[in-house]
């Protein structure tokens, strides 16, 4: 069993001077390699925080994140960034493209200052073509529609062929048609490349189409069940 993610007794609280807000508590999850998981829940339920912890953007207050038998919650900055580079691709609700870089530059952004054993431009071009953006290679984010921007962001997430794509409400800013297109792209990637997908969403319809649906409320997993297979 390779590239699975194991969350053990995860707890997260944010300290401020007045109160101790407990955002996540007692999270125990095993996410298997190549799975397609959606995390649903109301605003402020802690689903994005959970995704950040899985993606090593944040450290849990208690508990541990075990990736492929290795506890990664105790790694230092440098090792964590290496881990993210090799294993995780992020897609965000706000697309988070660098406004001063073109599509193709945004796609290759993760590989900058790193040594990789593939031709980054060719791979970036291939990926963007696959996303239907072959004529937008040199466009700036501001010249792209929301759906196009999110596809660039997705291409950027998978440029280094990570084991997991973590998507934080990737369709939150898109209309339902483009949302569905986006979802199908993720689904395709999951099937073709055996790349695991964890995505946080409000959209129950989309969530229903994933392999596994984890529902969170007030920082706790309240349900964990299989979705309808397409």
């Amino acid at each position: 069993m390779a590239n699975h993610i194991l969350l053990k007794n995860i707890e997260k609280h944010f300290n401020n001077n007045f109160n101790n807000a407990l955002v996540l508590k007692n999270i125990n999850l095993l996410i298997e390699e190549g799975d397609f998981v959606s995390i649903v829940g109301p605003s402020g339920s802690g689903k994005s925080t959970l995704l950040s912890i899985i993606g090593t953007l944040e450290k849990p207050s208690n508990g541990s994140v075990i990736f492929n038998e290795e506890d990664i919650s105790g790694l230092n900055h440098k090792k964590l960034s290496d881990f993210r580079f090799h294993n995780i691709g992020f897609v965000f609700q706000q697309f988070n493209l660098l406004p001063t870089l073109t599509s193709i530059e945004n796609v290759i952004l993760p590989t900058i200052s790193r040594r990789v054993n593939f031709k980054i431009y060719e791979r970036a071009k291939t990926l963007l073509k696959k996303m239907g953006l072959e004529d937008k290679l040199d466009s700036l984010p501001s010249q792209l529609s929301g759906g196009q921007q999110q596809r660039v962001a997705l291409a950027r997430a998978i440029v280094n062929e990570p084991a997991w794509i973590l998507a934080d409400e990737p369709t939150g800013n898109l209309d339902s048609k483009t949302s569905m297109d986006m979802f199908l792209l993720l689904r395709n990637l999951n099937e073709e490349k055996n790349c695991g997908v964890i995505f946080v969403t409000h959209d129950r319809t989309l969530a229903q189409m994933s392999n596994r649906i984890i529902e969170i409320n007030d920082g706790e997993v309240i349900s964990d069940h299989h979705g309808k297979k397409l």
Partner: protein, 870 residues
């Protein structure tokens, strides 16, 4: 509203720290500069006034007396000794009568006065009859080598020999020998003193000659004509107690190995035989045995003169002849321009022209760089008995030149005082190799030498006038003038001196040079081979650079104002930039407030109020720092400057708020929901496939922001480069004279302080700009970290951005400072300024990089989580 401002400050803590650092650097920097400038300005003036004080303000000379083109404003050391008259008593009275003239001390160079001193005699050594060889050798020592300057040999016959010759015949020419007579064996030394006529009253006022003398000129010490037909005068004389030269006079007596027959006839026969064999030249070939010898120094001769004449020691066997004739009158040196072997060290170099003159008493043993001048003017009448001025000396006393009221510090001495030898150091030998250590040269008693002794025999102007009545011509060589109420080196005194000098020239037609505010300047002179005396090499002498102190004072004052202006401008740029950037960053925030229903005036008030608060803090800090500096270092305190600097600090911040307040009008409320400034149509020069590229594209993308950053860094750097250029130029001016070198050391510190302050401000400007950039790009940076960028890469990216801004600012400031220099100085010397051209590029790149360090660390600390959700 103040509450709102404070809250904003506290929320943006890092920015507040930067603002406070900037404020402190500016306030403290300005205060320190104001304090040390005020103090240093005083120091420079004091140094100039105290150390380079010449005992006179203006020197008046006849027109056309110098051999040297004075276009460089240079005056040769002890220039006075080359001028032998040319100013009439009437002209002197005219100058003396001028209202603003306090002291007018004339100096009449009359020529050399030979004083013969009988030291001893060989009479007692000659105890048996025979032929004696009497040899006289005069050896001069110039501090570097000894040289025989004169040598005479005479043969004396002690015995029954009375050459039967006619009056016209000289026994020495015929027989090669003299019969030994009473005075034949005497050791007579001729001490040569430069005789100068002075006005006793004025000289006492000018240099305190009366207080330095054993006895001074009194009313009954008047010169008078003894015999008009013989040109004979009796003159009062004051002698210097220092001879200033070092000459050895050696007398040697040898006895020839010839026995003298007893009878008169046989002796006569022997002498005729000698005559037939060649006389003196034959005698010189004969062997001899040394009998005795005596050696005397210049000082010995001097001591004898004083002992005999001043102490009236009648018992002394030594005898000084107070009847003498006036000796040689000497002309000036002739200088030719020469290529300096080390132009960086000695800007000016000359070569002395040898003269074809021989001293009668030294014959072929000496050399000449000066001409002996005709004493008597050519006249129609030829009833003069002969061309001599006969003098009976009334020696009234001695003066000690070291007791005179003239500058004595050898480091600061001006080489134009009347009472000392010009300083000269042999620094390079005749092949141009350095003489190590350099040798200080002394004057010799050769009146035709390049280095002369100062006047050592003083008489009254009246005596000089009576002498010139015999010889014709005007007696006075130069007049040294002191002007009333000129005590300091100020613009006022300079103008006054210029006015007086101009009116002297106008009224008398004489040349009047201002010597107050002159500085010694090192000049190299080559002493060539001359009359078979080999070349000495290169001598270094302090010459007089006329008016240099005023130049230095003006230039340093200009420099000081320049420094203050530069730092002020840099401060202004810093404040304006940071306020503008702050406005740009908060624009969305302001738009939001507008959208909520704030009025435009409220927003403007907010900005102005913030500026007023910052301005108040600035002026308080400036005042506090100045007070602390004043009490800690006891600096000069100028209330006007104190007040002004505080007000300036306030207004810089206050005005810095005006533009952003005005720009509030440009904000539209809907901007609150619009995303930031991004140019949409830009060309790609290259793909960003490395960190450098990402940095570059970012800067290029936010072109407006980047332009402000570049300009705000370029302005201080431009000023700084220009300012450093001025500093170097000033040093160039300063290092041309000793005085300047001294001053340069004194003002160096303030220039460095100003430079450092300006650079710190430039760094802070970059830091603040970069900080704002980072704050705005938090989401981007956290994204970069989320997608796996390492801290090191993020850090590099920010520093590259700073360096890029620096690089472009550098190119801009290179162009701007080049233009500024061109405008001010009309030319740019590319070779000399290469270093200066690197500065505008290197400083901003460094400043940009250093300024980015802090923002880079801020960027590194941004968590990858922060920006991913909005």
């Amino acid at each position: 509203m103040i509450h709102f401002i404070f809250k904003n400050w506290i929320r943006q803590r890092e920015r507040l720290i930067l603002i406070i650092i900037g404020l402190l650097v500016m306030s403290i920097g300005l205060s320190i500069l104001v304090s040390i400038t005020e103090t240093n300005k005083g120091t420079v003036q004091n140094t100039l006034e105290q150390n380079w004080k010449s005992s006179y303000h203006i020197v008046v000379r006849p027109e056309g007396v110098t051999s040297l083109p004075e276009d460089e404003g240079l005056l040769e050391p002890n220039f006075l000794s080359g001028i032998t008259g040319g100013i009439s008593l009437q002209q002197y009275q005219q100058i003396k009568a001028m209202e603003e003239v306090d002291v007018a001390a004339p100096i009449a160079i009359l020529g050399y006065l030979p004083l013969s001193v009988k030291m001893d005699s060989f009479s007692s050594a000659k105890n048996e009859e025979g032929i004696y060889k009497f040899q006289y050798t005069e050896t001069v020592e110039n501090g570097y080598n000894k040289r025989i300057q004169a040598q005479h040999t005479k043969f004396l016959v002690s015995g029954p020999w009375y050459p039967n010759l006619s009056r016209r015949e000289n026994p020495s020419e015929t027989f090669g020998a003299f019969p030994w007579q009473n005075t034949s064996g005497e050791h007579v030394i001729i001490s040569r003193n430069l005789l100068v006529g002075i006005d006793p009253v004025e000289e006492a006022k000018l240099v305190g000659l009366d207080k330095a003398s054993t006895k001074y000129f009194e009313s009954d010490d008047k010169p008078f004509v003894v015999d008009k037909t013989l040109n004979q005068l009796r003159i009062p004389l004051l002698l210097s107690s220092q001879p200033f030269t070092n000459t050895n006079y050696s007398f040697q007596l040898e006895k020839l190995n010839i026995s003298l027959p007893d009878s008169k006839e046989e002796v006569q026969e022997l002498m005729e035989n000698i005559r037939d064999k060649g006389g003196e030249s034959y005698l010189k070939t004969l062997e001899s045995e040394k009998v005795t010898s005596s050696v005397y120094s210049s000082q010995d001769a001097y001591n004898s003169i004083f002992d005999r004449l001043l102490n009236k020691n009648e018992k002394s066997s030594r005898f000084v002849n107070t009847s003498t004739v006036l000796g040689e009158k000497i002309g000036p040196l002739t200088y030719k321009h020469n290529q300096s072997p080390f132009p960086e060290r000695w800007q000016h170099a000359y070569k002395l022209e040898p003269k074809d003159t021989i001293l009668p008493w030294a014959k072929d043993k000496t050399y000449a760089f000066r001409e002996v001048q005709e004493r008597f003017e050519e006249t129609e009448t030829t009833d003069r008995p002969n061309d001599f001025v006969r003098l009976d000396l009334n020696i009234i006393g001695a003066y000690d030149p070291s007791q005179l009221n003239i500058a004595k510090d050898p480091l600061t001495e001006l080489p134009m005082e009347t009472y000392r030898t010009a300083r000269a150091k042999l620094v390079l030998d005749d092949t141009g190799k350095p003489v190590n250590p350099p040798v200080t040269l002394k004057a010799t008693n050769n009146p035709l030498d390049f280095l002369l002794q100062p006047p050592t025999a003083l008489t009254s102007l009246e005596a000089a006038d009576k002498i010139s009545a015999f010889t014709g011509g005007e007696p006075i060589s130069a007049i040294r003038i002191k002007i009333k109420d000129v005590n300091s080196l100020t613009k006022g005194s300079q103008e006054k001196l210029e006015r007086v000098a101009a009116s002297i020239s106008k009224q008398t037609g004489l040349k009047a040079d201002i010597t107050l505010g002159s500085s010694p300047q090192s000049v190299l002179t080559f002493i060539p081979e001359n009359n078979s005396v080999p070349s000495l090499g290169w001598i270094e002498q302090p010459w007089v650079k006329l008016g240099s102190a005023f130049t230095i004072l003006n230039e340093t004052k200009l420099g000081y104002s320049g420094i203050i202006m530069t730092v002020l401008l840099v401060a202004v740029v810093y404040v304006f930039t940071t306020r503008l950037i702050s406005y740009l960053t908060n624009r969305k925030h302001y738009a939001l407030l507008l959208a909520f229903g704030w009025s435009l005036n409220q927003l403007k008030k907010l900005i102005i109020l913030e500026s007023v608060l910052l301005g108040l803090i600035a002026s308080m800090t400036i005042w506090a720092v100045q007070i602390i500096i004043h009490f800690l270092f006891n600096t000069t305190f100028s209330f006007a400057l104190f007040w002004l600097s505080g007000v300036a600090g306030f207004f810089i911040y206050f005005l810095g708020g005006i533009l952003p307040a005005k720009m509030m009008e440009l904000i539209k409320p809907y901007e609150a929901i619009k995303t930031g400034e991004i140019s949409t149509n830009m060309k790609r020069f290259f793909y960003s496939n490395n960190i450098l590229g990402v940095s570059f594209q970012y800067l290029f993308g936010k072109s407006r922001r980047t332009a402000i950053s570049i300009i705000s860094l370029a302005i201080p750097v431009t000023l700084l480069s220009y300012f450093i250029f001025i500093t170097f130029r000033l040093k160039g001016v300063l290092y041309t004279s000793y005085l300047g070198e001294y001053i340069a050391l004194e003002i160096g510190s303030i220039h460095y302080a100003a430079t450092i302050i300006a650079i710190i401000m430039a760094i802070l400007t970059t830091a603040e700009i970069m900080w704002q950039n980072i704050m705005e790009r938090k989401p981007e940076i956290s994204l970069l970290k989320a997608i796996g960028w390492q801290n090191q890469s993020v850090r590099k990216m920010v520093i590259y951005e700073g360096a890029f801004i620096g690089f472009f600012a550098g190119i801009l400031s290179l162009v701007l400072s080049g233009l500024l220099i061109l405008i001010t100085y009309k030319t740019i010397d590319f070779q000399d300024s290469l270093f200066l051209f690197c500065l505008p590029i290197l400083i901003p790149i460094t400043a940009g990089s250093i300024g980015s360090l802090f923002p880079a660390e801020m960027a590194v600390r941004i968590s990858p989580m922060e920006g991913t959700k909005k």
